[in-house]
Symmetry: C2
Subunit: 349 residues, 2 copies
């Protein structure tokens, strides 16, 4: 039934996008070798969905649709924290432990400031050397992108691809630029926030809004001289989390102490992940959350596509820029300026 | 110069919207008597902008534009907190104190669940009896509305109107349904969160995401038997706030203890407000924040107007509903479904 579904959809998409049937076949072949575990096909697939060339768009859609029935089987974990908190070290420690337990681990990243050449600081294989060497691991730096929406979309598509390729755990790393945490939280099952042991330092303070996303907090570098500070910080975060209404009924995010160097507290993180999965499944929230995320992705795409009506027409874009200045300067009320622009846009349709 | 500006804009809007010039004149007259302090004109003006009849839309726009040059001179304060925390009592106490200091106070509310008939629980004059009786106060319940966006727009327009009418302080109350706090934080200068003395109770826990918006936290009912609990809760919130990166440089939100019944801690709130205003002015952030909020309002209106392209065309709406089901069920990938819908919408324009 899934195969018929794919063909119908392929025909559907082909019809809409006028794809040559050769692209159609190429995408299906790539999907097939991807599902069969060919590592190069996975890399090629991700490169295809990251491509911004219009001619690649249709093939990418077909590929994603072909991979979709094989996706959905991993545990998706988001990892966020300020620069320097130790995300790479943790991913190396956690990833290698998971592999020692027989799991296949993919590491992706969302970093809208990533440069096209040279990759980003996230998903940097030089920082996760041992993990990068394992055949059971797949590490991919953040796609380059001009907007968070674009980077988030490509990462979501990559999640589908690594799942179709048979990985068991997907780690999605983000460094906390702009709204990237919210974007990552919207594409994972569990969102983990890493904080440094010197938690009270305002310069390194946890970015506002992260606490509300956390399903688990990890205090890093909990070893040696930093142990007392780490313990104190863990207590402070416990107080803070206790004050908040829980995201899920009867789930109070734990605060864990981890030392990536000593490898202490690492396996306990997987225990927490499994606890969380069991808890959400009991509430039927695991699947519900994924369903909500799919719809949310759809509407993100629709909103971005519609905004193109404002930014891709030269005249409208110019008028919008002019009215934006009037609004900022206080000489025109925002709702009035919006009505003017909308009447121009909608007047055309 | 402001007068010429208004006439040019009126002509502009009239031209776009084909308003009869009689509407044009009515709106200008209403604006004039509003600015002259006529209370009934203020009520009529707010009723006009809250109206959802298409024929009132053009007059409302003209009215807002005419009022705009006279606006901007109040301090706008958002007040949020769970039901039962004591918002009405605080508004009564704070409002009457401000009036005793010679200020004119307006109270508005954002409550998207408000029913069209019977008003909402917010801005309920029966709960702020003494304040409601004062000629220096103006209390308006939340506009009824089907969407938060619609309610937020009308409240923002009402802020412009009460400012043009000469009020000094605008309090905007919200009860925390959905994203209403974010909407209110985006229309005020200072966002205050009220929490109950029994802060650790998970059922009454502060809704996640509120802490990041707060410029000040008030622990209510800090009197009698509840004093020890209130003090403890204040300490917990101080710890929690300290962990977060500040919204504004060098401003750590204070945690204040207030008893509306005993009227203790109330005048101190105004002292905090003034401290905050001075601090933000020193950073030039007061005006910057207002400028950002105007632009944000413009883009909210644009986004909502564009979404209408999806929801107001019967065929497109039907197809969207169908594809939403496929996406939720996992048989179609969200970005592919979005492409299909967008090609239909944009194909028309």
């Amino acid at each position: 039934m899934a195969e018929i579904g794919i063909d119908l959809q392929a025909a559907f998409v082909t019809n809409i996008m006028n794809t040559p049937s050769s692209d159609n076949t190429k995408a299906k072949d790539l999907a097939t070798s991807l599902v069969n575990g060919d590592r190069r096909s996975l890399a090629k697939s991700i490169t295809l969905v990251e491509s911004r060339r219009p001619k690649d768009a249709a093939a990418a859609s077909l590929l994603i649709n072909a991979a979709l029935p094989h996706a959905g089987r991993t545990v998706r974990i988001g990892l966020s924290g300020a620069p320097g908190v130790g995300k790479s070290s943790f991913i190396e420690a956690f990833g290698t432990w998971l592999i020692s337990q027989g799991k296949r681990v993919a590491v992706l990243a969302v970093d809208p400031s990533s440069r096209r050449t040279g990759g980003s600081i996230l998903g940097d294989k030089t920082r996760m050397v041992k993990l990068a060497q394992s055949q059971s691991a797949f590490i991919r730096p953040s796609p380059a992108g001009t907007t968070l929406g674009g980077v988030a979309r490509r990462t979501r598509e990559s999640i589908i691809l690594v799942e179709a390729a048979g990985f068991d755990v997907v780690l999605v790393e983000t460094v906390g630029v702009g709204q990237s945490e919210t974007a990552v939280a919207d594409m994972v099952d569990m969102f983990i926030v890493l904080v440094s042991p010197s938690g009270g330092d305002e310069l390194q303070g946890t970015k506002r809004g992260i606490m509300e996303l956390a399903d688990l907090v990890i205090v890093t570098k909990a070893d040696g001289d930093l142990m007392p500070a780490a313990t104190r910080t863990a207590a402070e975060y416990t107080v803070a989390l206790h004050l908040m209404k829980p995201k899920f009924k009867n789930w109070s995010p734990a605060v864990a102490l981890v030392s990536s160097t000593l490898r202490t507290g690492v396996s306990e993180i997987w225990t927490e992940v499994q606890k969380f999965e069991r808890h959400l499944n009991a509430l039927q929230e695991w699947d519900n959350q994924r369903r909500r995320q799919k719809i949310s992705w759809l509407w993100n795409e629709l909103r971005e596509g519609l905004l193109g009506l404002l930014t891709e027409n030269v005249e409208i874009k110019a008028e919008l820029t002019l009215l934006e200045k009037k609004v900022a300067g206080g000489s025109m009320a925002p709702p009035v300026a919006a009505k003017v622009i909308l009447s121009r846009v909608l007047g055309k349709s």
